[in-house]
Symmetry: D2
Subunit: 151 residues, 4 copies
């Protein structure tokens, strides 16, 4: 899925509006960095509130940011009145998420009418060095015309 | 894996001590409910800070709590000096996580010297009704004698 | 999902007819053992033609039988004119699949209009002892009224 | 993982020797096409013996070939005396595997002392057109000095 392909009209504004409604993103401190058709990037600075027992980013926090990156990557290609839900995802923790900042990128592999498949990756930055700390895949569902699930 | 099997000496205290070190659990508001050998339960009351864009628990929040439930289920069976890391997990979101409270339970399927496989499930309670909202499986790694990863 | 619940009329005959059309099942030597609403069991005797490099059942062979067991478990609950396709699955190889016979069972966790989620497990029998060698989960899609994909 | 990186001495001969021992590859009709450090490709011509109920390649057959492609991709980077076992894998079926020939490629994402993570993809060729029909990820374990699991 080429990140330079043209998305549906208004996709970036819709994606940013939906992201702003995710209470957990503000609670973690995550910000929406890049929004292109079929590709979304989210960043999250480290705080002790995000840690697992050894002081690294918790696997679930990495998964939360990666799931939103993939979910919104799919969402950028959806028609205007569609909502997005995650059907399932799998994540590999490739290395300890030990860093000052986490970056996750989601990318559409296949965009379908009902189901979309995405890949996501995450990296941690520490002392100027970037480590690939997670990768995974995800199935999304597009919901059209269901009350309460637009966006 | 029978939850009534006897775990290693001190397993419950070690599990509770490690859980208390996960900054993200306090930040979300999650509490460790049940700790048995090979089985752990975690609960999380709803707050808008935990939501995705439609106001339900975010899939990543469900995953965070489920990953910790599974991780600690495996940890209860580890020897005293071992740390636990998640290698990978997969989660199915079976229904919208729309409720006042989320409960996740992790259970060991196979406990090995290096790798442990767990299953986890999550439910939401709403107006006295419980809905099975997630299920998944997980691979854990036991780390022995590595500085910084005990517990 | 209770395996004693009543399935749609004719579910067993439809399941057996569809299984008989899977060329790979005969090629491997797999047989449909149990068919109940929401639960299907398949067996496969060992032959060197099914091996990986150490002489055990190949992980892909275990996956093939497990995928069909789960797929048909879901199919038993589908309406008469629906076809079934696997959207994705994940499998854990819990132990070397070293045995004279492989048995796989699939079970519906959640049956929906479009998507169904199943769990599957596999065991190997060797010298009278049964070993749990695989477990996993699967997303199925129900296809209604599409030419070429009935059954 | 760059496919042009130099692998351990003798990696290609060891990989081809191990592949030749997988009874299922000959039984399906699969051939080892490309072997580079961290990347392996396998091809499989269509036969009715490989089908699911609609006449396409069975999802389990796609998974078998993809699992071997990923497994051998990891194996190319292992030391001489190590064996490889699949810990788990997940596969997405992106499109009906309707074609004359299936090609699967596995690629190492992270190669570790004990665990290796790979990605695999599969395509079907039909009437001169190639369709991306599957993608997934896999965890492998390197086994050193265990009787019966070399290669």
């Amino acid at each position: 899925m080429s990140p330079t392909a043209q998305g549906p009209a208004g996709f970036e504004a819709r994606t940013r509006a939906s992201f702003a409604k995710q209470g957990i993103m503000a609670h973690l401190g995550a910000t929406l960095e890049g929004v292109a058709p079929g590709r979304v990037e989210i960043a999250l600075p480290y705080r002790p509130e995000l840690s697992q027992q050894h002081g690294f980013f918790h696997a679930g926090v990495v998964a939360t940011v990666a799931d939103s990156a993939g979910g919104y990557a799919g969402f950028t290609l959806f028609p205007e009145d569609a909502g997005v839900l995650t059907v399932e995802f799998k994540i590999h923790l490739l290395a300890a998420a030990d860093g000052e900042r986490l970056v996750a990128a989601g990318e559409v592999i296949r965009s379908g009418r009902t189901l979309t498949v995405c890949r996501f990756d995450a990296w941690v930055d520490k002392a100027g060095q970037r480590t690939h700390c997670a990768t995974g895949t995800q199935t999304l569902m597009s919901l059209i015309g269901r009350a309460g699930v637009k966006g």
